[in-house]
């Protein structure tokens, strides 16, 4: 008799405590846990950048131009004699700021558009979908490039330029999940209770698309970091002397690739590791949160 009782209790108690849930996630999804650890590490590095970076990231030292990795400069120096490690450490701030900024904004606006579009249905839905179709036809980088050209390339503008192409991609996914929620009894109940459209969309429907929202959000952080580094690489994103990974790869890094390969290798590794971590984590989160995609 004891076993079924215990089983029942486990089912009833759906709200687990955080440490327990985390441990469970780590055990069942080791790859996702690795991603999470790297993300936490990056957040720490970004937060403590001024404390842990050995040099000033913008300090020019012509005496140490293109120095090999050594005990003085662990990852070498660039063509201005700036310490590569310090620039990497500070660059993580730029990457995370743009990555989180653009993906939170893009996913939030996309979610509201998607839920609203599904809730109102009919004509509103049709028009919103057509506009989204139009924006989806532009490749990410091309739309972002045009927007940067319009807005100018300060960091807030860069975030805006990366946000816009994210919006339709998120709206599309969220709308699909919201369509089924619209048919739920509690939405009817809220409508019958006389609540306004805004309240129903924001209070009743939006919380129920949290799972796809979080999935899109984590998937976008990696993409936004990649997009920022691409734009900076082209010289259209973050401007010198601000340390940014994509920027560190452009110009001199390619020119001196043979003489000073560390200039090209380390920033690329940093970008790859960051995007890799967010993708791993996002992937596992999707498996954990979305029961339809769960394998077995």
């Amino acid at each position: 008799m004891a076993t079924p009782l215990a089983y029942d209790l486990e089912v009833v108690e759906t709200r687990r405590r955080w440490p327990e849930a985390l441990r469970d996630f780590g055990r069942r999804r080791p790859l996702g846990a690795i991603g999470a650890v790297v993300i936490v590490f990056m957040l720490l590095v970004a937060g403590l950048a001024p404390v842990i970076s050995p040099y000033d990231p913008v300090a020019i030292d012509f005496g140490a131009m293109l120095a090999r990795p050594s005990s003085a400069h662990w990852l070498g120096t660039d063509s201005f004699g700036r310490d590569v490690l310090s620039r990497l450490v500070h660059g993580s701030r730029t990457a995370l700021l743009v990555g989180f900024g653009a993906s939170i904004l893009g996913a939030a606006i996309g979610a509201i558009l998607g839920v609203g579009s599904a809730y109102f249905g009919g004509r509103v839905d049709l028009y919103v979908q057509r506009v989204m179709d139009i924006f989806l036809a532009f490749p990410l980088i091309i739309l972002a490039l045009a927007l940067v050209a319009i807005l100018g390339n300060s960091i807030p503008n860069l975030i805006m330029a990366i946000t816009v192409p994210m919006i339709p991609r998120c709206a599309l996914v969220i709308r699909a999940s919201a369509l089924s929620i619209r048919e739920m009894a509690y939405v009817d109940a809220a409508r019958a209770a006389g609540f306004g459209h805004a309240r129903i969309v924001l209070r009743h429907m939006l919380p129920n698309v949290m799972a796809p929202f979080l999935i899109m959000l984590t998937a976008f952080v990696g993409q936004a970091i990649l997009l920022e580094s691409s734009l900076s690489f082209l010289g259209l994103g973050v401007q010198e002397p601000t340390p940014a990974w994509g920027l560190m790869l452009s110009g001199a890094a390619v020119e001196f690739a043979e003489r000073a390969p560390w200039m090209a290798i380390f920033p690329g590794l940093a970008i790859s590791l960051a995007v890799f971590a967010f993708n791993l984590f996002g992937d596992s989160l999707r498996d954990a949160l979305d029961p339809r995609l769960r394998t077995q």
Partner: protein, 317 residues
Amino acid sequence: MHTYLLKRLLLIFPTLFGVAVVTFLLIRIIPGDVVELRYSGDRGAVSQQLLDQERARIGLDKPVWRQFATWIWGVARLDFGQSMWTGAPIWQEIKLRFALSLQVAVMATIVAVLLAIPLGVLAALKQDTWIDYAVRVFSIAGLAMPSFWLGIVLILMLLIVFQWLPPMVYTPFWVSPWQNLAQLIWPALAVGYRYSAVATRMTRSAMLEVLREDYIRTARAKGLMQKLVLSRHALKNAMLPVLTVVAIEFAFLIGGLVVTEQVFNLNGIGLLFVQAVAHRDYTLLQALVMLVAGAFILVNFLMDVAYAWLDPRIRYR
């Protein structure tokens, strides 16, 4: 089904028109115009009168709606006009570069498919083993590495290990296939690896889904060999969603290689795009965006047709 396809076909036009409007307005908000930029080297030495004259010559003095009407009427007749920067006809500017970008896109797609299908099938068969994890890490790593960086590393490796650099000048395939491939295989590898990631994951999940179908169990129960079950029954049915992602990525590849072309010094559509933005060459930009977006919209439509045609289970209103 015919009404569905017809409806779907007719939807192409408003979307393309929307793309045209958005592009047209967006690029005109970018500060500065082609005339200003061309004479910017002379600083204040150019009179306002000359600038106005030059604007009138290329039609930039007319109201925006008139400019749009003229342009869209041209587009409807497939006449994209002349480049505002060089004055050459647009098709002439695009022709050679398009051939190059298309070739890289085709080669990258082949690389992606050759990687994705075997890896995806393998991961699905060995689900939740270390092989599955390794494939997953390999493909997520592909998505994470910026292809321009992968390009730099590839070139660096060729240089350090083989003391050899790929040719930096483009040779058309029909002139010297060897020279051509020696240059283009590297960007194709860098980009193809990256794009194989999505297709690998799609192959894996499609295979997993199909392998649980009743007809697979039936085929196994009949005593068919595993090889035959996989190739004739499973793979064939799992390929449709894979085909879709590959096709859509291909459409994006044609215009989306903006950064990779920079690294490999390829004078393709992507580089042309960056130059057109820098020069505020409105007509060229408009044509490029219409080309890229048009390819994307068309491929999407063809995929819907393929679905309706190949999968009889799907019913349309």
